[in-house]
Assembly symmetry: D2
Homo-oligomer: 496 residues x 4
């Protein structure tokens, strides 16, 4: 089943307990601060009907049409398709939250692994939930990051209380009771349901924290504390002029989700106590979601390159080599992320025993690491090309004031032939891209830099690298590695 945008919007007025800026919001669909994220998500429902994109977003099986993302990826083609779907929605201006589908994909793999190794039956629950998704077409998100307390202590060793990581506090024949809080959960207000996963590996003493489940956002005991948004007026003419990106698709998105003893029935529980598999779930979510994150950054870095290129032109600077060098870096950065993420889908990791696939752990993490590590450099270059005016540019109200406007129009003109208003808009876009502390968010979203380094270290084939060195050094140990086993001792032989 596919819902209409209208059905989707109405479904969000569901009695959820949600706060913003110290106020409880009775119906988020009536509140301007939620307008951007809800509208962007609604657009993705609209896109179901677009003749060019229908087959990209949806899939038909046995007469039933549903969102492509409800299927479990099995091939490189599935992953490339997934990537195209995300990028297409984003470029269009729509939002397709990746957190939910990425958690679903991770759960599909982890459940299969647990069932195979431990004889559990979690795949049945995952498949039951998948059926529900196909039948009701909800918007879903995924909740990973716990609030963590003292970062130097494990979940079960926390000092102040034991709820810094979401955990099972009780269970009965019908289901489980969970407590804790997840934080920085994007797109929660615009979603109907969510999948909860651990954010780290566990030891046996942490087994109550090894829990994966799905739940409606409006379940009893769930409280949503939304983070204040930098822009809360969304979609007005003023907002669109001042913040060409954030004034449209921005607004409130991030939530702390408090689980105040929430009940989850067994058919929505995908892990419960199998602490050895928490790491799998966290890592698999990580790699699926970093793929999503790279799609986001392809769009964002193209926008940065575009705003910088316009400003270089409008400022009369685009013929200077040092400006071209900076622009070249911005283009390189965007293309590099795009290509590496695409490469990670074209050359995925296959889990052959369970017949499933995930984006390459190495290449997806490289793409993610590079964009996060260089985000501050990106902003620096945009600011460098844009100039001080990116900080001090006037806003819609100044521009609309007939006393100020002639001065702004005269004095903020750039290159001849370019309307001052065009230059102002490009400046506002640069300001929107770099002026809100995005940089700091970018290095943490989809996992910190340290998380990518750990993943790349884990993904690297150290036996290969050592075998290559040992063969050259005539140290035993290279004769069996697939990369070196067919080679002769190094070098092959002396001909002269």
């Amino acid at each position: 089943m596919l819902r209409t945008a209208k059905q989707y919007v109405e479904s969000l007025n569901d009695g959820r307990v949600i706060y913003l800026n110290g106020e409880k919001i009775p119906d988020i669909t009536k509140h301007k601060a939620f307008r951007g994220s809800i509208n962007a998500r609604a657009l993705s429902y609209e896109l179901y009907n677009h003749p060019k994109f229908r087959d990209l977003l949806t899939i038909e099986e046995k007469g039933d049409r549903f969102l492509f993302l409800w299927n479990q990826p099995k091939t490189a083609e599935d992953l490339v398709h997934r990537r195209n779907l995300y990028i297409t929605c984003m470029r269009w201006g729509a939002a397709m939250s990746g957190m939910g589908p990425d958690a679903l994909a991770a759960s599909g793999v982890t459940a299969a692994r647990m069932d195979k190794a431990l004889g559990t039956h979690y795949t049945e629950a995952v498949e039951d939930y998948r059926k529900h998704l196909r039948q009701t077409d909800p918007a879903i998100t995924g909740a990973i990051t716990d609030v963590k307390g003292n970062r130097g202590l494990r979940p079960s060793a926390q000092e102040q209380h034991k709820d810094f990581y979401v955990r099972v506090v009780d269970k009965n024949k019908d289901g489980i009771i969970v407590r804790g809080a997840k934080i920085h959960i994007s797109a929660t207000p615009s979603c109907n349901e969510l999948i909860v996963s651990p954010c780290r590996a566990h030891r046996e003493e942490d087994k109550d924290y090894a829990v994966v489940f799905a739940t409606p956002v409006n379940a009893k005991g769930i409280k949503l504390l939304t983070s204040p948004a930098r822009i809360e007026e969304i979609g007005s003419e003023e907002a669109e002029w001042d913040w060409p990106l954030g004034g449209r698709g921005g607004g409130v998105s991030e939530c702390m989700i408090v689980f105040d003893d929430v009940f989850v029935p067994w058919n929505r529980v995908f892990m419960c106590g199998e602490w050895q598999y928490s790491r799998d779930q966290a890592w698999l979510f990580g790699v699926f979601h970093r793929l999503f994150g790279t799609c986001h950054r392809v769009i964002a870095t193209e926008e940065a390159a575009g705003a910088a290129a316009l400003l270089a032109e409008y400022n009369g600077l685009d013929r200077y080599p040092h400006i071209q060098e900076k622009l070249a870096w911005l283009a390189m950065h965007s293309q590099l992320i795009d290509a590496m993420a695409q490469y990670g889908c074209e050359h995925p990791d296959f889990f052959e025993d369970i017949g499933l696939a995930a984006p390459s752990l190495m290449f997806t993490n490289i793409a993610k690491y590079i964009f996060a590590n260089d985000q501050h450099e990106t902003s620096k270059l945009v600011a460098d090309i844009g100039g001080g005016i990116v900080t001090t540019v006037y806003n819609y109200r100044d521009w609309m004031n007939p006393e100020e406007r002639p001065y702004i129009e005269k004095y903020l003109a750039g290159k001849g032939g370019i309307p001052t208003e065009h230059r102002l808009r490009a400046i506002r876009m640069a300001k929107d891209l770099i002026g809100h502390g995005h940089d700091g968010a970018t290095i943490h979203t989809e996992g910190s830099l340290a998380a990518q380094k750990m993943a790349m270290y884990a993904a690297a084939d150290w036996e290969k690298y050592k075998a290559i060195a040992k063969r050259i050094l005539n140290i035993p140990g290279w004769e069996k590695h697939p990369v070196t086993k067919d080679l002769p001792p190094y070098p092959a032989k002396w001909i002269i």
Copy 2:
């Protein structure tokens, strides 16, 4: 004469033509958005009377006591004193705008040079203005950056009109008429007067643009278009909680100053047509003002190191080597800026023919370059240590809501023994430091990165470096350089 803080505040209600967010503001001392910058400046008037700082801020000559900055620096001690004055005010929480005093110091040197070389009498005007400053104790700023139009064209070659750089459009026996606009001029609303200087070197065809002068901010024809501030509620309990720095000393500061055919009498004109000296004025202002800028960054980088150190502790992370490494970098960065700027005062450039001194062109620019070039790295490290919560932290209103507070208190706790509120405050401080696009501003304030590179290239003693190499290479040309002339051919001789 020294004014009281009260006299200072009242003097700002002077009929100036000033706009904010599209509105004309009749009396800025009554408008909350100006409160932060006016209050911070007022505090520096208060400091005149502080027993520990009175002799640092003021000087007594012939029975008259006045601001130390009105004197022209002649020695290393003067420059070190100047630096201490700026840093003391800033650390206190007061503001002493450097742009005005820095432009005054630059004018003192440039006027003396012109008079000596060209037989002009600009020093008389500078001294007359200095006398006025001593007698009336105004708050002054300095206006340098022009709006520039097409950055690829010189002032006199602009396409759309000729007013992209401030210029003399007429002159008569009483004075001159100027037109144009200066932009990004900090502290203008909180000042009474300003000194206007060129921002670049000129050729003969640009000579109308070679003009330096002082004027009251409320002179006829001056219009002030203030840039929208990121925080406009200043000083409320909410503002202070949400933005521990910006909610107190922040608010509106930056202005575009439009000169709509403004009259300036000859005794306030410090250059008029001597295009060969525009570069001197721009460079001298640059080096004095970059000294000021480094004082600012010493304070800001200490704050960044402090917020990061608190967060590392409150998050339970301060014992981890990779966190200590990042903290070490933040401390190094702050100390490096401090020491290099201090070194540039202790070892200044002396202009012996006119008996004056300026901060070392090389060392001051190194200090400035380093803080600007590494600003994004600073923010990245603070964000890395602080975590994603720096982006999504709750605000005062959430904290004050009795329904939300227990959840925030419980779930945003960190290390045992640290009140959650302390952790929240430290996070808000980190957010305030890195979350508003400061980074981009920092690389442009007091001159772009390119400006520092040019200055360092100019300040470098290339003949020394080449002489050192030539001596080693036995290529003639090193025998006369002071650094190599007393040395024997390289190496001295062969003993064994």
Copy 3:
């Protein structure tokens, strides 16, 4: 035809005029300093017969079997095959010089373009040469970089003489006479023939410099001045112990090739005066050769990662996070180059009008830029992990001295269970990788960093980036770009 390794080696004793360290070398196949490069090239002839690699290296057409590289690339598969061929030879320990085949591939494209646009017949000459290559199986190289004189002046505007770039000094019915010198031409001593191409774009006044041709290395008038090699003893037990890489495949390789009025017959001339196409030839050679360069660096960075991983293990450090972080970077770097270069072959640039293909200008240059730009970082990390001993390690003679050996064996031991000799060998490998000034060579080989930046700027689709920004900013100009033309105005519409 395919030659044997023995035929190949004998063919190099061809009367060529070649100097090393001030001496004229009568027969390079008898001189130890040339042993490494000749042997490595000879191994590639041996590989023709390897059952696993025969079909990778050679191709059979109409009953004739010849080197795969003699064919002109037309498809992504051809380029991936080319890449595999290069990497396989290198990993084996053999050398397949890319400069010649890369220049051939560039000439194939440029000749086709000229013929199509100008009605010339250069393709005939290229095909005639290709036939000769297939029939005689020579080792070939390509000569690009001119000696350049004053880098600030064009070829025809040089001060001291007009021969700083290779040029045509005469022509007649049989062929042309060329003069000048090419420098840094790798693998020249181990090759039989070479293709000469311009290294830059030309204007009409430089048209004598617009010349592409093939010639035997021993042609009359050619003088080869080889650059001194860091290691000149190749292949002895001592050389192999001291320099596990350079002591085997190293030795003399780089040449300045002087063309002292050399005659070239018309059937070996592939461009002569068509100055508008010099840029094409230079850029096409660049992109083919940078692909080759990335193959080289995949091998070298795998070796660096391997040596570093062994040293981390042997030093007892591989469990420390800061060491793992550095190792992760080395693995990332190697994989990134590999994947980007592969991606550039899988997604090549097609020249549809002439039915040919080249590695993607953007992605190949990104791969090249990244390895060159980060080469010094690579060496820094290897040195950091390896420790000071990489500088001061003992050599074969010390190790063989029975008085020193017990001390070396005792005191240079590392982790328990690892023979000291293994540690020493790994250290010698690290020293060989980073200890000879390779870093500086790496940033210049296959074109300087500036060359890649220019190529990336040129390859970037600036109209795309601007269109993306303009659509967001509601500035006309995005409606026709392929990436944005099917999209609605941004954002699609407001649903709520």
Copy 4:
């Protein structure tokens, strides 16, 4: 007493047991490979008599004249003098090994501290040794770095044997017996004596390793295994042409010093078992020796800037902005190291209870960290400006061959008016600076990058930074810190 250069040289033929390249060297003063380091050290004895430098190098007390470095630093002036002494010798072309005097200075402080805290009498031994130095004027070095074995294990926990760190194996009424090996000890062949210190902190179980002592280099049981030098022909015309720096002052310098049960009398023992003070000795040696290291790098970075500036000029590139930007960086880098190290002497750390002083731990480590961390960047820029020719340039023998020379002279010419030979020499200097793997050595010499980070973290006043943040955040804890205690709560008060 002051020795003559001749006396010094003769004193080195003292029967020491020393190996090079697997050979035992009977008299190093007769071996060309040692010529560079001995000659450079001999020049410093010559400099005693130079009228301009006599008072810089030597000091007269009670009618006795001796090397200034034999005195213990007590004031900023002493440290500035020390710095000038080192730099003057180096710039001259002489060598004054810092390791010995730096170990002496460290021992002076550590002995005083131990005596004061523990009631030991080590200061007597240090003063006795100081007297001996004044009377006999030997060249001394200092030995710090142990061979370390498994870097993950403490000295007393090593796996293969217990001698990976120098330790006391026996003691009696006359003295102690030591065993172990120190590595990377610069200038050992050109020295008469050495001071041995621990390279790390110890715990009680490591107390046998807590030992500091002085010994002649030719003491019974000492074996010197010199590291192979990159250049072993020193001082010939060819060596000077090929390696303008290394061919003169280079050659063999680094040693592993094996202590094969060496006896040390008590009056040369400065620590023996006081494991709590090993850290002090290591850190103090570190800061004194890093001061020396920065002197070295001031010279080296000036040479790099000079070679790059000459090459930019000779290549016709010095007017291009991107070249000037790179040159500006090289000048900045050199000046920054110079100024920070000088600042660390002008503002030293005083140990008031014992009346002694050391270079500032913070500023000296910043200077050291910056040069080591940016060494690879320095080499990259020199290589970038110099071009590929820095890798492939011809040598003396090519230049002297009358057949090759005309081609080299013609084709390697650069800018008009510059003799080709001058360009070649500048290229050889660049090659000498960056072509031998210096970079890796530089990041380790005087302690690894990690060592500086630890030192800076330790030197940082974290209480200051936290106090500054706490005052702003209204968190108790800032009221007593010296930097914040005189300040009011932040901000001072609200005036408007």
